[in-house]
Amino acid sequence: MSNAAPILSLRGVTRRFGGLVAVRDVDLDVVPGTIHGLIGPNGAGKSTAFDLVSGVTPVSAGTIRFDGRDVTHLPVHMRVEAGICRTFQTPRLFEAMTVLETVLTGRHRHARCGFLGSMFSLGAKARDEAQQTEVALRLLALVGLDGEADTTVSGLSYGARRKLEIARALATEPRLLLLDEVASGLNPVETEFVAGIIRRLAAEGMTIVLVEHDMRFIMGLCERVTVLNFGARIADGPPVSVTGDEAVIEAYLGRPRTDATPRREARRQHG
């Protein structure tokens, strides 16, 4: 364990949906400036964990601390202000906007121009807009979409939509970026490109948490990995130690055959 204080820290976090426990008593510490992977088989509770940290879904129990501050009950937009921003498993975009407008919308909390200012101001609004546009274009260049600034979102390819969602999240200037299956649906070239962006952001000091299916993607990027299964944490540590962990292998590949035999006998007795 690194001796730096964790930027994100979950303690006993639980989320129930009726009788189903989607996330069960999870503890998690994310070290600032690292790329942290959150993996597990389908239905392990990874995306729900993201919803809890970003505030889309309220927790049933437990606490979430960000940068030493309790954010467990903050609404989503206040968490964005605190410095947490996320993307979605399926990109959620503003279909009728242009690519540039989308990123400008992400500048909402940093732009100054208010309600009356939008309508009546002469110089200040133009200056503010020019400044935000400059930031937005720089972010579009970072994700390789600067040539598409005036394209309408509904006409973008799947890969471009993923990149745009990253640029929009970056526009909020997060300190903790949560990326939900950011490589799924991308071709190998795009995947490598996105991995490059993630490395670059981490090198600049941003903390990144990845939820991912693609094990190779995770292992190549993350310094630390947390494994969930049936909502509970079953392993935590550097990628190498986690892939050798018996509980993890079992969660992904099932039990060895010797375990299955008594179960079959039990079934036979019933029938």
């Binding site: 889309v56 540039l100 909402h108 121009c113 935000q132 274009l137």
Partner: protein, 336 residues
């Protein structure tokens, strides 16, 4: 990151710039053309056309407000006539009972409908379809109050003897004066709303209308902005409504039934949801067309329905959508 030198982005900026400027500029060109037609055509034709111009103008103002609320921010209102009614009655009662001049009464009307809108906006906490149903209920409640509070509103008999618009010693004696007063209001509201939609607040409205969860995820306080959009839409309806007693020289509850709410919704839909120009064009079309189809007056609502369905099938983005795709095709053809 924001400390990086500005010239780092100049190469990326130059190719993208012209198209973007075109988009913002195009709204203002359309504004200039539409307002020139709206100002000059009724004055040039005179007579009945001028009267129709007066009816179009207050509908266009109300439709612009509803466009912000429904077309941009996605907060469907099925009772918008209530706010026209609150505006109309507040204006005429302040003028008749308190002898206030039109601008002051009009300000009172905007304030009253904004306040009523703010009350209704608290219902956004009802998610999904429940808010829409609540707006319908709100429309019915206001219509019932206007119809039954006889001592204040005169009940179903309405209010007669509306004094002419007067402003700092100037009195609108002719229909032309009234038309000019309305057109000044329409032009100012239209211009201010274009500016609003081009900025940060307008983008937040559109973000909520297009994907509320995504808008929240990037830090837009969605509930607050929904309330602002609804209140704004209702306040502008109040402004439009304050001209109604002057146009008809009479005001009665029958003007503010759900038919009227539906009519304004059809206006912004046929004109093109999300487009301010579309709201103005839709208002003109749905006021003027029925007047030239008078022989079929009993089929008016049927005609509206057929018109709406045809518009949605053949131009889902409305008249404004057809216009902008034509403009894009034309613009692309010209580029080398």
């Amino acid at each position: 990151m924001s400390a990086a030198p500005a010239n780092a982005v100049t190469p990326a900026q130059s190719p993208a710039q012209p198209g973007r400027r075109g988009r913002g500029h195009r709204d203002w060109i359309v504004f200039a053309v539409l307002m020139a037609i709206a100002w000059l055509l009724p004055i040039w034709l005179g007579g009945f056309a001028l009267y129709l111009g007066c009816v179009v103008a207050f509908h266009a103002i109300a439709a612009l407000g509803l466009q912000i609320m429904v077309g941009l921010a996605g907060q469907l209102s099925l009772g918008h006539a209530a706010f026209l009614g609150i505006g109309a009655y507040t204006t005429v009662l302040l003028e008749k009972n308190f002898g206030l001049s039109f601008p002051v009464a009009c300000l009172g009307a905007v304030f009253a409908s904004a306040l009523a809108g703010l009350v209704m906006a608290q219902l956004v906490r009802l998610s999904g379809i429940y808010f829409k149903i609540a707006t319908f209920g709100f429309g019915i409640i206001v219509h019932q109050i206007i119809s039954n509070w006889v001592s204040l509103t005169g009940g179903t008999a309405g209010v007669k003897g509306v004094p002419p618009i007067s402003f700092l010693g100037w009195t609108a004696t002719s229909r032309l004066d009234l038309f000019i007063a309305e057109m000044v209001a329409l032009t100012v509201v239209y211009a201010l709303l274009i500016r609003l939609t081009h900025g940060r607040i307008g983008r937040a409205f559109r973000a909520i209308g297009q994907n509320e969860v995504a808008a929240r995820s990037i830090g837009v306080p969605t509930h607050r902005y929904q309330i602002v959009a609804i209140t704004l839409g209702c306040a502008i309806a109040g402004l439009g409504g304050s001209f109604i007693p002057h146009v008809f020289r009479f005001v009665s509850p029958e003007t503010f039934t759900w038919h009227e709410s539906l009519l304004i919704l059809i206006m912004i839909t046929v004109g093109g949801l999300g487009s301010l120009a579309g709201a103005v064009i839709g208002a003109a079309l749905l006021v003027v067309l029925p007047e030239y189809l008078r022989d079929f007056a009993q089929y008016k609502m049927l005609a509206y329905g057929v018109f709406l369905i045809l518009a949605l099938v053949f131009m889902p983005r409305g008249i404004a959508g057809v216009g902008s795709s034509l403009a894009e095709r034309f613009g692309r053809g010209r580029r080398p």
